[in-house]
Amino acid sequence: MADGKKKPNRPVPRVDEESRPFWEACARHELYVQKCRACGTVFYYPRAFCPENLSQDFEWLRCSGKGTVYTFTITRQNQSSGFRNKVPYVMAYVELEEGVRMLTNIVGCDPESVTIGMPVEVTFEDVTPDVSVPLFKPAS
Protein backbone atom coordinates (compact mmCIF):
# COMPACT_ATOMS: atom_id res chain seq x y z
CA MET A 1 0.00 0.00 0.00
CA ALA A 2 1.01 3.61 -0.65
CA ASP A 3 1.77 4.39 2.99
CA GLY A 4 3.93 1.30 3.25
CA LYS A 5 1.67 -0.35 5.83
CA LYS A 6 0.94 -4.01 5.38
CA LYS A 7 -2.68 -4.76 4.58
CA PRO A 8 -4.18 -7.00 7.29
CA ASN A 9 -4.47 -10.53 5.96
CA ARG A 10 -7.82 -11.13 7.64
CA PRO A 11 -10.71 -8.87 8.75
CA VAL A 12 -9.73 -6.89 11.84
CA PRO A 13 -12.16 -7.36 14.72
CA ARG A 14 -13.54 -4.08 16.01
CA VAL A 15 -12.40 -3.53 19.57
CA ASP A 16 -15.18 -1.87 21.54
CA GLU A 17 -15.96 -0.90 25.13
CA GLU A 18 -17.22 -4.36 26.03
CA SER A 19 -14.48 -6.39 24.41
CA ARG A 20 -11.42 -4.20 24.97
CA PRO A 21 -9.97 -6.25 27.90
CA PHE A 22 -10.31 -9.44 25.82
CA TRP A 23 -8.57 -8.01 22.77
CA GLU A 24 -5.89 -6.28 24.86
CA ALA A 25 -5.10 -9.66 26.40
CA CYS A 26 -5.00 -11.26 22.94
CA ALA A 27 -2.51 -8.58 21.88
CA ARG A 28 -0.31 -9.85 24.75
CA HIS A 29 -0.98 -13.38 23.45
CA GLU A 30 -3.09 -14.31 26.44
CA LEU A 31 -6.57 -15.83 26.22
CA TYR A 32 -9.27 -14.86 28.71
CA VAL A 33 -12.93 -15.72 29.18
CA GLN A 34 -15.26 -14.33 31.82
CA LYS A 35 -16.78 -15.80 34.97
CA CYS A 36 -19.72 -14.32 36.84
CA ARG A 37 -19.03 -13.93 40.56
CA ALA A 38 -22.75 -13.91 41.32
CA CYS A 39 -23.76 -17.16 39.60
CA GLY A 40 -20.50 -18.83 38.57
CA THR A 41 -21.33 -18.93 34.86
CA VAL A 42 -18.32 -18.98 32.57
CA PHE A 43 -19.08 -17.26 29.29
CA TYR A 44 -17.68 -16.44 25.87
CA TYR A 45 -17.82 -14.19 23.80
CA PRO A 46 -16.90 -11.22 26.00
CA ARG A 47 -19.61 -8.94 27.36
CA ALA A 48 -19.89 -6.16 29.95
CA PHE A 49 -22.30 -8.28 31.98
CA CYS A 50 -23.18 -11.89 32.79
CA PRO A 51 -25.60 -13.17 30.15
CA GLU A 52 -27.40 -15.28 32.78
CA ASN A 53 -28.33 -12.52 35.21
CA LEU A 54 -26.96 -9.24 33.78
CA SER A 55 -24.63 -8.92 36.79
CA GLN A 56 -21.63 -6.68 36.19
CA ASP A 57 -19.69 -8.46 38.93
CA PHE A 58 -17.51 -10.77 36.86
CA GLU A 59 -13.87 -11.72 36.72
CA TRP A 60 -11.60 -12.31 33.76
CA LEU A 61 -10.41 -15.89 33.80
CA ARG A 62 -7.03 -16.64 32.26
CA CYS A 63 -7.45 -19.72 30.05
CA SER A 64 -5.01 -22.59 29.91
CA GLY A 65 -5.19 -22.22 26.14
CA LYS A 66 -5.94 -25.92 25.81
CA GLY A 67 -9.06 -27.43 24.37
CA THR A 68 -10.48 -29.92 21.91
CA VAL A 69 -12.09 -29.55 18.51
CA TYR A 70 -15.90 -29.59 18.99
CA THR A 71 -16.63 -29.37 15.28
CA PHE A 72 -14.92 -28.05 12.16
CA THR A 73 -15.23 -27.53 8.44
CA ILE A 74 -12.62 -27.37 5.72
CA THR A 75 -13.70 -24.30 3.76
CA ARG A 76 -12.79 -24.72 0.12
CA GLN A 77 -14.59 -21.67 -1.27
CA ASN A 78 -14.79 -18.12 0.10
CA GLN A 79 -14.89 -15.20 -2.31
CA SER A 80 -14.26 -12.51 0.29
CA SER A 81 -10.95 -10.72 0.45
CA GLY A 82 -8.66 -12.09 3.10
CA PHE A 83 -9.91 -15.62 2.57
CA ARG A 84 -10.01 -16.03 -1.20
CA ASN A 85 -6.34 -16.98 -1.15
CA LYS A 86 -6.46 -18.87 2.17
CA VAL A 87 -8.62 -21.79 1.01
CA PRO A 88 -8.63 -24.54 2.01
CA TYR A 89 -8.68 -23.44 5.65
CA VAL A 90 -10.24 -24.95 8.75
CA MET A 91 -12.92 -23.08 10.67
CA ALA A 92 -13.83 -24.76 13.94
CA TYR A 93 -15.45 -24.48 17.31
CA VAL A 94 -12.91 -25.33 19.99
CA GLU A 95 -14.20 -26.35 23.41
CA LEU A 96 -11.88 -24.77 25.94
CA GLU A 97 -10.87 -26.53 29.15
CA GLU A 98 -12.85 -23.79 30.88
CA GLY A 99 -16.03 -25.27 29.33
CA VAL A 100 -17.04 -22.75 26.65
CA ARG A 101 -16.72 -23.06 22.89
CA MET A 102 -15.20 -20.45 20.63
CA LEU A 103 -15.19 -20.07 16.87
CA THR A 104 -11.65 -20.08 15.52
CA ASN A 105 -9.34 -21.51 12.89
CA ILE A 106 -7.19 -24.60 13.25
CA VAL A 107 -3.75 -23.86 11.83
CA GLY A 108 -0.31 -25.41 11.77
CA CYS A 109 -1.40 -28.74 10.32
CA ASP A 110 -2.80 -30.32 7.17
CA PRO A 111 -6.52 -29.39 7.08
CA GLU A 112 -7.30 -33.01 6.20
CA SER A 113 -5.76 -34.18 9.49
CA VAL A 114 -8.20 -32.25 11.71
CA THR A 115 -10.70 -34.40 13.61
CA ILE A 116 -13.39 -33.79 16.21
CA GLY A 117 -12.03 -34.38 19.69
CA MET A 118 -8.49 -33.54 18.63
CA PRO A 119 -6.51 -31.78 21.40
CA VAL A 120 -5.46 -28.28 20.42
CA GLU A 121 -3.75 -25.29 22.00
CA VAL A 122 -4.01 -21.57 21.41
CA THR A 123 -1.65 -19.60 19.21
CA PHE A 124 -1.99 -15.98 18.20
CA GLU A 125 -1.80 -14.23 14.86
CA ASP A 126 -0.94 -10.53 14.90
CA VAL A 127 -3.38 -9.01 12.43
CA THR A 128 -2.27 -5.42 13.11
CA PRO A 129 0.29 -4.08 15.60
CA ASP A 130 -2.59 -3.67 18.09
CA VAL A 131 -4.89 -6.59 17.34
CA SER A 132 -4.09 -10.30 17.54
CA VAL A 133 -6.60 -13.09 17.06
CA PRO A 134 -6.59 -16.42 18.91
CA LEU A 135 -6.17 -19.44 16.65
CA PHE A 136 -5.55 -23.04 17.60
CA LYS A 137 -2.95 -25.60 16.53
CA PRO A 138 -2.52 -29.28 17.38
CA ALA A 139 -1.47 -29.67 21.03
CA SER A 140 2.25 -30.26 21.44
Binding site: R10, D16, Y44, T71, T73, Q77, Q79, M91
Partner: protein, 382 residues
Protein backbone atom coordinates in the same frame (compact mmCIF):
# COMPACT_ATOMS: atom_id res chain seq x y z
CA UNK B 1 -56.35 -15.08 22.71
CA UNK B 2 -55.86 -17.83 20.18
CA UNK B 3 -55.45 -16.95 16.52
CA UNK B 4 -56.53 -20.42 15.41
CA UNK B 5 -58.86 -20.24 12.41
CA UNK B 6 -59.27 -16.46 12.81
CA UNK B 7 -57.33 -15.80 9.61
CA UNK B 8 -56.87 -17.57 6.31
CA UNK B 9 -54.55 -17.55 3.33
CA UNK B 10 -56.83 -16.29 0.57
CA UNK B 11 -54.33 -15.71 -2.20
CA UNK B 12 -50.86 -16.94 -3.09
CA UNK B 13 -48.54 -16.38 -6.02
CA UNK B 14 -45.07 -17.60 -6.83
CA UNK B 15 -43.25 -15.56 -9.41
CA UNK B 16 -42.35 -17.98 -12.23
CA UNK B 17 -38.97 -16.38 -13.02
CA UNK B 18 -35.71 -17.72 -11.58
CA UNK B 19 -33.55 -15.27 -13.57
CA UNK B 20 -34.81 -11.73 -13.92
CA UNK B 21 -31.98 -9.31 -14.79
CA UNK B 22 -34.42 -7.24 -16.84
CA UNK B 23 -36.73 -6.52 -13.87
CA UNK B 24 -36.37 -4.54 -10.64
CA UNK B 25 -36.91 -6.02 -7.18
CA UNK B 26 -40.05 -3.87 -6.71
CA UNK B 27 -41.33 -4.98 -10.11
CA UNK B 28 -41.06 -8.62 -9.08
CA UNK B 29 -42.93 -7.72 -5.89
CA UNK B 30 -45.66 -5.80 -7.73
CA UNK B 31 -46.17 -8.64 -10.23
CA UNK B 32 -46.38 -11.09 -7.35
CA UNK B 33 -48.84 -8.85 -5.51
CA UNK B 34 -51.07 -8.72 -8.55
CA UNK B 35 -50.88 -12.50 -8.89
CA UNK B 36 -51.83 -13.20 -5.28
CA UNK B 37 -54.61 -10.59 -5.22
CA UNK B 38 -56.04 -12.03 -8.47
CA UNK B 39 -55.87 -15.47 -6.89
CA UNK B 40 -57.93 -14.18 -3.96
CA UNK B 41 -60.29 -12.07 -6.06
CA UNK B 42 -59.17 -8.87 -4.35
CA UNK B 43 -57.57 -5.65 -5.58
CA UNK B 44 -54.58 -3.65 -4.34
CA UNK B 45 -57.03 -1.08 -2.91
CA UNK B 46 -58.32 -3.74 -0.49
CA UNK B 47 -54.88 -4.08 1.13
CA UNK B 48 -54.45 -2.41 4.53
CA UNK B 49 -51.62 -4.47 6.00
CA UNK B 50 -48.16 -4.68 4.40
CA UNK B 51 -45.38 -7.14 5.27
CA UNK B 52 -41.99 -7.61 3.68
CA UNK B 53 -38.32 -8.30 4.31
CA UNK B 54 -35.10 -7.92 2.37
CA UNK B 55 -35.72 -4.27 1.52
CA UNK B 56 -33.39 -2.59 4.06
CA UNK B 57 -34.15 -0.79 7.31
CA UNK B 58 -37.02 1.46 6.26
CA UNK B 59 -37.56 -0.08 2.85
CA UNK B 60 -41.11 -1.08 3.64
CA UNK B 61 -42.15 2.57 3.53
CA UNK B 62 -40.55 2.99 0.11
CA UNK B 63 -42.28 -0.20 -1.02
CA UNK B 64 -45.62 1.20 0.21
CA UNK B 65 -44.89 4.35 -1.78
CA UNK B 66 -44.02 2.34 -4.88
CA UNK B 67 -47.31 0.48 -4.61
CA UNK B 68 -49.11 3.71 -3.59
CA UNK B 69 -50.40 2.06 -0.42
CA UNK B 70 -51.13 3.69 2.94
CA UNK B 71 -51.52 0.58 5.09
CA UNK B 72 -52.85 0.64 8.67
CA UNK B 73 -50.30 -2.01 9.69
CA UNK B 74 -46.67 -2.41 8.61
CA UNK B 75 -44.22 -5.16 9.58
CA UNK B 76 -40.80 -5.72 8.04
CA UNK B 77 -39.59 -8.20 10.62
CA UNK B 78 -36.29 -9.46 9.20
CA UNK B 79 -35.15 -12.72 10.73
CA UNK B 80 -33.63 -14.19 7.59
CA UNK B 81 -35.25 -16.71 5.28
CA UNK B 82 -37.97 -17.50 7.80
CA UNK B 83 -39.21 -13.88 7.83
CA UNK B 84 -42.20 -14.53 5.59
CA UNK B 85 -43.36 -17.50 7.65
CA UNK B 86 -43.19 -15.17 10.63
CA UNK B 87 -45.06 -12.45 8.68
CA UNK B 88 -47.89 -14.91 8.04
CA UNK B 89 -48.26 -15.46 11.79
CA UNK B 90 -47.98 -11.74 12.54
CA UNK B 91 -50.57 -10.97 9.87
CA UNK B 92 -53.00 -13.46 11.39
CA UNK B 93 -52.46 -11.92 14.83
CA UNK B 94 -52.95 -8.39 13.47
CA UNK B 95 -56.15 -9.48 11.71
CA UNK B 96 -57.42 -11.26 14.83
CA UNK B 97 -56.73 -8.08 16.81
CA UNK B 98 -58.55 -5.94 14.26
CA UNK B 99 -55.46 -3.95 13.24
CA UNK B 100 -55.87 -4.79 9.57
CA UNK B 101 -58.17 -6.79 7.38
CA UNK B 102 -56.32 -7.69 4.19
CA UNK B 103 -52.60 -8.32 4.68
CA UNK B 104 -50.22 -8.49 1.73
CA UNK B 105 -46.90 -10.26 2.31
CA UNK B 106 -44.33 -9.58 -0.40
CA UNK B 107 -40.92 -10.78 -1.40
CA UNK B 108 -38.77 -10.07 -4.41
CA UNK B 109 -35.06 -10.52 -5.03
CA UNK B 110 -32.44 -10.47 -7.74
CA UNK B 111 -29.66 -12.05 -5.75
CA UNK B 112 -28.73 -14.28 -8.65
CA UNK B 113 -28.55 -11.64 -11.39
CA UNK B 114 -26.94 -9.21 -8.91
CA UNK B 115 -24.29 -11.92 -8.34
CA UNK B 116 -24.56 -11.69 -4.55
CA UNK B 117 -22.26 -14.34 -3.01
CA UNK B 118 -24.64 -15.20 -0.19
CA UNK B 119 -23.31 -18.69 0.38
CA UNK B 120 -19.60 -18.21 0.06
CA UNK B 121 -19.00 -14.55 0.90
CA UNK B 122 -17.54 -13.35 4.18
CA UNK B 123 -19.22 -12.14 7.36
CA UNK B 124 -18.82 -8.81 9.12
CA UNK B 125 -16.37 -8.15 11.94
CA UNK B 126 -17.78 -5.06 13.67
CA UNK B 127 -20.58 -5.39 16.18
CA UNK B 128 -20.67 -8.38 18.52
CA UNK B 129 -21.02 -11.26 17.93
CA UNK B 130 -19.51 -10.73 14.46
CA UNK B 131 -16.44 -9.24 16.12
CA UNK B 132 -15.60 -12.78 17.23
CA UNK B 133 -16.48 -14.45 13.92
CA UNK B 134 -15.53 -12.38 10.87
CA UNK B 135 -11.79 -12.87 11.37
CA UNK B 136 -12.18 -16.65 11.04
CA UNK B 137 -13.69 -16.69 7.56
CA UNK B 138 -17.24 -17.84 8.17
CA UNK B 139 -19.42 -18.45 5.11
CA UNK B 140 -23.06 -19.47 5.05
CA UNK B 141 -22.10 -22.90 3.75
CA UNK B 142 -19.31 -23.22 6.32
CA UNK B 143 -21.57 -22.25 9.20
CA UNK B 144 -24.02 -25.02 8.29
CA UNK B 145 -21.14 -27.41 7.65
CA UNK B 146 -20.09 -27.02 11.29
CA UNK B 147 -23.45 -28.44 12.35
CA UNK B 148 -23.27 -31.21 9.74
CA UNK B 149 -19.80 -32.35 10.83
CA UNK B 150 -20.84 -32.57 14.48
CA UNK B 151 -24.07 -34.39 13.57
CA UNK B 152 -22.07 -36.97 11.64
CA UNK B 153 -19.64 -37.38 14.55
CA UNK B 154 -22.28 -37.77 17.24
CA UNK B 155 -24.88 -39.81 15.40
CA UNK B 156 -23.09 -41.50 12.53
CA UNK B 157 -25.07 -39.58 9.94
CA UNK B 158 -23.53 -40.10 6.49
CA UNK B 159 -23.12 -37.99 3.37
CA UNK B 160 -25.17 -40.66 1.56
CA UNK B 161 -28.09 -40.07 3.93
CA UNK B 162 -27.93 -36.29 3.48
CA UNK B 163 -27.70 -36.80 -0.29
CA UNK B 164 -30.99 -38.69 -0.15
CA UNK B 165 -32.66 -35.39 0.78
CA UNK B 166 -31.28 -33.67 -2.34
CA UNK B 167 -32.25 -36.65 -4.53
CA UNK B 168 -35.83 -36.73 -3.21
CA UNK B 169 -36.22 -32.99 -3.54
CA UNK B 170 -34.99 -33.12 -7.13
CA UNK B 171 -37.55 -35.79 -7.90
CA UNK B 172 -40.24 -33.40 -6.67
CA UNK B 173 -38.77 -30.57 -8.75
CA UNK B 174 -39.02 -32.74 -11.84
CA UNK B 175 -42.81 -32.55 -11.37
CA UNK B 176 -42.83 -28.74 -10.99
CA UNK B 177 -42.75 -26.98 -14.37
CA UNK B 178 -41.36 -23.78 -12.77
CA UNK B 179 -38.50 -25.49 -10.88
CA UNK B 180 -35.03 -24.40 -11.94
CA UNK B 181 -33.36 -27.83 -11.78
CA UNK B 182 -35.57 -30.65 -13.03
CA UNK B 183 -33.17 -33.39 -14.19
CA UNK B 184 -33.11 -36.33 -11.80
CA UNK B 185 -29.95 -36.88 -9.77
CA UNK B 186 -28.56 -39.82 -7.80
CA UNK B 187 -26.84 -40.11 -4.43
CA UNK B 188 -23.60 -40.65 -6.34
CA UNK B 189 -24.14 -37.39 -8.23
CA UNK B 190 -24.39 -35.52 -4.93
CA UNK B 191 -21.28 -37.21 -3.52
CA UNK B 192 -19.37 -36.57 -6.75
CA UNK B 193 -20.20 -32.84 -6.76
CA UNK B 194 -17.37 -30.71 -5.45
CA UNK B 195 -17.03 -30.16 -1.73
CA UNK B 196 -17.74 -26.50 -0.90
CA UNK B 197 -17.13 -26.73 2.84
CA UNK B 198 -16.65 -30.17 4.33
CA UNK B 199 -18.76 -32.25 4.67
CA UNK B 200 -21.18 -30.36 2.40
CA UNK B 201 -21.02 -30.83 -1.36
CA UNK B 202 -22.34 -28.45 -3.99
CA UNK B 203 -25.54 -30.50 -4.38
CA UNK B 204 -26.09 -30.39 -0.60
CA UNK B 205 -26.52 -26.62 -1.02
CA UNK B 206 -29.52 -24.63 -2.19
CA UNK B 207 -29.15 -22.58 -5.32
CA UNK B 208 -29.25 -18.81 -5.55
CA UNK B 209 -31.93 -17.65 -7.98
CA UNK B 210 -33.94 -14.53 -8.62
CA UNK B 211 -37.61 -14.56 -7.83
CA UNK B 212 -40.35 -13.58 -5.46
CA UNK B 213 -43.84 -14.24 -4.32
CA UNK B 214 -46.85 -12.92 -2.46
CA UNK B 215 -49.39 -14.03 0.12
CA UNK B 216 -52.76 -12.51 0.92
CA UNK B 217 -54.02 -13.13 4.44
CA UNK B 218 -57.47 -12.04 5.53
CA UNK B 219 -60.07 -12.83 8.17
CA UNK B 220 -61.64 -16.27 8.06
CA UNK B 221 -65.10 -14.76 7.45
CA UNK B 222 -63.94 -12.65 4.53
CA UNK B 223 -61.89 -15.52 3.07
CA UNK B 224 -65.00 -17.69 2.85
CA UNK B 225 -66.54 -15.22 0.36
CA UNK B 226 -63.47 -15.03 -1.85
CA UNK B 227 -62.41 -16.87 -4.99
CA UNK B 228 -60.47 -19.81 -3.54
CA UNK B 229 -61.01 -22.35 -0.79
CA UNK B 230 -59.60 -20.74 2.39
CA UNK B 231 -56.54 -22.26 4.01
CA UNK B 232 -56.70 -21.52 7.73
CA UNK B 233 -53.84 -20.64 9.99
CA UNK B 234 -54.26 -23.02 12.93
CA UNK B 235 -51.26 -21.93 14.98
CA UNK B 236 -47.78 -20.47 14.88
CA UNK B 237 -44.66 -20.09 16.98
CA UNK B 238 -41.26 -18.43 16.66
CA UNK B 239 -37.86 -18.89 18.19
CA UNK B 240 -34.18 -18.20 17.79
CA UNK B 241 -31.00 -20.04 18.67
CA UNK B 242 -27.42 -18.77 18.96
CA UNK B 243 -24.18 -19.67 20.65
CA UNK B 244 -25.77 -19.31 24.12
CA UNK B 245 -22.61 -17.68 25.51
CA UNK B 246 -20.52 -20.66 24.39
CA UNK B 247 -22.49 -23.75 25.37
CA UNK B 248 -25.23 -24.43 22.78
CA UNK B 249 -25.59 -27.91 21.30
CA UNK B 250 -25.00 -27.16 17.60
CA UNK B 251 -27.08 -30.18 16.53
CA UNK B 252 -30.28 -28.58 17.86
CA UNK B 253 -32.20 -26.02 15.82
CA UNK B 254 -34.50 -23.21 16.94
CA UNK B 255 -37.24 -25.47 15.54
CA UNK B 256 -37.01 -27.45 18.77
CA UNK B 257 -38.54 -24.50 20.62
CA UNK B 258 -41.13 -23.32 18.09
CA UNK B 259 -42.22 -26.61 16.46
CA UNK B 260 -43.72 -28.46 19.43
CA UNK B 261 -45.29 -25.19 20.63
CA UNK B 262 -47.02 -24.64 17.30
CA UNK B 263 -48.29 -28.23 17.25
CA UNK B 264 -49.56 -28.02 20.84
CA UNK B 265 -51.33 -24.74 20.11
CA UNK B 266 -53.15 -26.39 17.19
CA UNK B 267 -53.86 -29.54 19.20
CA UNK B 268 -52.11 -31.76 16.66
CA UNK B 269 -49.04 -33.95 16.67
CA UNK B 270 -46.34 -34.94 14.20
CA UNK B 271 -48.20 -37.97 12.86
CA UNK B 272 -51.24 -35.86 11.89
CA UNK B 273 -49.51 -33.99 9.08
CA UNK B 274 -50.10 -34.86 5.44
CA UNK B 275 -47.03 -32.93 4.29
CA UNK B 276 -44.42 -30.48 5.51
CA UNK B 277 -42.45 -27.64 4.05
CA UNK B 278 -39.05 -27.63 5.72
CA UNK B 279 -36.60 -24.85 4.87
CA UNK B 280 -33.85 -26.56 2.87
CA UNK B 281 -30.96 -24.13 2.65
CA UNK B 282 -28.82 -27.28 2.88
CA UNK B 283 -29.53 -30.96 3.22
CA UNK B 284 -28.34 -30.84 6.84
CA UNK B 285 -30.92 -28.12 7.56
CA UNK B 286 -33.69 -30.57 6.69
CA UNK B 287 -32.15 -33.40 8.72
CA UNK B 288 -31.70 -31.35 11.88
CA UNK B 289 -35.02 -29.51 11.50
CA UNK B 290 -36.99 -32.77 11.19
CA UNK B 291 -35.35 -33.97 14.40
CA UNK B 292 -35.86 -30.69 16.22
CA UNK B 293 -39.53 -30.63 15.20
CA UNK B 294 -39.94 -34.12 16.60
CA UNK B 295 -40.77 -35.92 13.35
CA UNK B 296 -38.02 -38.32 14.43
CA UNK B 297 -35.76 -38.75 17.42
CA UNK B 298 -32.64 -36.66 17.78
CA UNK B 299 -29.82 -38.25 15.80
CA UNK B 300 -32.19 -40.29 13.63
CA UNK B 301 -32.69 -37.72 10.88
CA UNK B 302 -30.24 -39.50 8.59
CA UNK B 303 -32.13 -42.77 8.61
CA UNK B 304 -35.54 -41.04 8.72
CA UNK B 305 -35.08 -39.41 5.30
CA UNK B 306 -34.27 -42.69 3.59
CA UNK B 307 -36.48 -45.24 1.85
CA UNK B 308 -38.86 -42.72 0.35
CA UNK B 309 -40.29 -41.51 3.65
CA UNK B 310 -40.01 -37.81 2.73
CA UNK B 311 -40.96 -38.30 -0.92
CA UNK B 312 -44.37 -38.06 -2.57
CA UNK B 313 -46.32 -41.15 -1.54
CA UNK B 314 -44.18 -41.49 1.59
CA UNK B 315 -45.06 -41.04 5.23
CA UNK B 316 -44.23 -37.32 5.27
CA UNK B 317 -43.75 -35.75 1.84
CA UNK B 318 -41.67 -32.60 2.22
CA UNK B 319 -40.75 -29.74 -0.10
CA UNK B 320 -42.99 -30.99 -2.87
CA UNK B 321 -42.19 -27.96 -5.04
CA UNK B 322 -38.54 -28.95 -5.26
CA UNK B 323 -37.41 -26.70 -2.42
CA UNK B 324 -34.46 -24.38 -2.35
CA UNK B 325 -32.29 -27.27 -3.41
CA UNK B 326 -34.00 -27.57 -6.81
CA UNK B 327 -36.86 -25.12 -7.42
CA UNK B 328 -35.80 -21.63 -6.35
CA UNK B 329 -33.98 -19.78 -3.58
CA UNK B 330 -33.72 -16.04 -4.18
CA UNK B 331 -31.75 -15.53 -0.95
CA UNK B 332 -34.72 -16.17 1.32
CA UNK B 333 -37.38 -18.77 0.70
CA UNK B 334 -39.85 -18.63 3.61
CA UNK B 335 -42.62 -17.29 1.40
CA UNK B 336 -42.43 -20.32 -0.91
CA UNK B 337 -42.92 -22.70 2.01
CA UNK B 338 -46.29 -21.11 2.67
CA UNK B 339 -47.23 -20.83 -1.03
CA UNK B 340 -46.61 -24.54 -1.70
CA UNK B 341 -48.38 -25.65 1.49
CA UNK B 342 -51.43 -23.58 0.52
CA UNK B 343 -51.47 -25.01 -3.00
CA UNK B 344 -51.23 -28.54 -1.62
CA UNK B 345 -54.08 -27.89 0.84
CA UNK B 346 -56.19 -26.52 -2.00
CA UNK B 347 -55.38 -29.52 -4.20
CA UNK B 348 -53.80 -27.37 -6.94
CA UNK B 349 -50.49 -29.19 -7.33
CA UNK B 350 -51.19 -31.40 -10.32
CA UNK B 351 -48.63 -34.15 -10.77
CA UNK B 352 -47.00 -33.42 -7.43
CA UNK B 353 -50.26 -33.28 -5.45
CA UNK B 354 -50.29 -34.98 -2.03
CA UNK B 355 -53.47 -37.05 -1.90
CA UNK B 356 -56.19 -35.78 0.48
CA UNK B 357 -53.94 -33.10 1.89
CA UNK B 358 -55.68 -31.48 4.87
CA UNK B 359 -52.96 -30.55 7.35
CA UNK B 360 -49.55 -29.06 6.56
CA UNK B 361 -46.59 -27.89 8.60
CA UNK B 362 -44.24 -25.09 7.54
CA UNK B 363 -40.95 -24.38 9.20
CA UNK B 364 -38.63 -21.59 8.18
CA UNK B 365 -35.02 -21.30 9.32
CA UNK B 366 -33.30 -17.94 8.87
CA UNK B 367 -29.61 -17.35 9.46
CA UNK B 368 -27.28 -20.29 10.03
CA UNK B 369 -27.43 -23.41 12.17
CA UNK B 370 -23.78 -23.05 13.14
CA UNK B 371 -23.83 -19.46 14.39
CA UNK B 372 -27.34 -18.16 15.01
CA UNK B 373 -30.72 -18.48 13.38
CA UNK B 374 -34.42 -17.93 13.74
CA UNK B 375 -37.18 -20.48 13.50
CA UNK B 376 -40.77 -19.84 12.43
CA UNK B 377 -43.38 -22.59 12.52
CA UNK B 378 -46.90 -22.60 11.09
CA UNK B 379 -49.69 -25.15 11.13
CA UNK B 380 -52.04 -24.74 8.17
CA UNK B 381 -55.23 -26.64 7.48
CA UNK B 382 -58.48 -26.60 5.53
Amino acid sequence: MSISRKAALAGVYEHPLRWAPHKTQYQIMAESARGALDDAGLSIKDVNGLFTSGVGGMGIIALAEHLNLNPDFLDSNSIGGSSFVSHTAHAAAAIAAGYCDVALILYGSKWSSDRFAVGTGGGGSGDPPEQFEGCYGPTTVGDYALAAQRHMYEFGTTSEQLAEIAVTTRKHASLNPHAKFRDLISVDDVLASREVSSPLHLLDCCMISDGGGALVVTSAERARDLRKKPVYLLSAAESCAHTSAGVRDITDAAAKQSGPKAMARAGVSQSDFDMAMIYDSFTITVCITLESLGFCQKGEGGSYVQNGRIGLGGELPINTDGGGLSSNHPGMRGIFLVIEAVKQLRGECGERQVKDCALAFCHGTGGTLGLRHSGASLVLGV
